[in-house]
Symmetry: C2
Subunit: 138 residues, 2 copies
DNA sequence: TTGCGTGCAAAGGTTTTGCATGGCA
DNA sequence: TGCCATGCAAAACCTTTGCACGCAA
């Protein structure tokens, strides 16, 4: 399921390289396209969409879409197992993405599952707010 | 700030009526437009967008947008104060929206703020997963 | 009567699709 | 060589904006 299917092309290589370098943030097709063009290795947006779709199917990239709609962000997943067990906090001001892994959250998950019968999908859930640098204290 | 500005038109009335009837779910412009058309009281999408924008400014409707992009969902807010103090769980299977208000979550919020310096914005945060009816147990 | 709200149509942006070409294996 | 991946362009969507008309106050 996760095996690398298909050919190895320069475009795919460049795309993966960008995604891996930016695994700490959410990104999108525009950003990717702009960056690759600036690097002198432009890749057509259609190709980017198609490759991302494939990477999502392979489980190498996570796609955050709102209610199944368009306008998605993508994020490379370094360690699938690890990322499955923690939450992501995203700062609405600076866009920073924080990986939050602490036992309070495991408690929360257990609680919601046992008491409320709801099973949280970590891969689609993002907490929005403000990080400490951007005025989390106010 | 929350006072009802502007004229009272039939379109606005129909829109508000729909939103109030569907306050338990997230909705979007297409759904609203389709429903109102089916009811025999069609409202132009431009009008729906403009009215929703206004309602969001007035605090009567919450807009969930992904990363500030387009493609939003909207939700009518019955009791602003109440909804500000709890989380929303959304089932990825049936679309049900659950308002979750329990002290575990208050603990979580406090913990994340104190230990991680991150202030959660309830109005933008939605937990995705599966509700008990849709196989939360598997 | 005044001016806001509406509808239509056009524009702007994002994502998908069809098709011919080029490159990987 | 065979076939998949790419790029371009067109199409399909969603959302916003401009403008003239109609309706609320």
């Amino acid at each position: 399921m996760k095996r690398d299917s298909g050919y190895n092309t320069k475009q795919k290589e460049n795309l993966l390289s960008y995604l891996m370098k930016n695994k700490d943030k959410h990104t999108n097709v525009q950003e990717i396209s702009a960056f690759l063009s600036a690097e002198g290795t432009p890749v057509g947006v259609a190709t980017i969409y198609r490759q991302l779709d494939r990477l999502v199917e392979q489980g190498l990239v996570r796609k955050y879409a709102f209610d199944g709609k368009t306008c998605a962000c993508y994020q490379y997943i370094e360690d699938e197992e690890q990322c499955r067990s923690h939450f992501h906090l995203k700062c609405l001001s600076c866009g920073r993405l924080i990986h939050l892994d602490c036992e309070h959250l495991a408690d929360l998950t257990r609680h919601i599952e046992e008491e409320h019968g709801f099973s949280i999908d970590y891969s689609q859930t993002v907490f929005y707010g403000r990080c400490s640098d951007c005025g989390g204290k106010d």
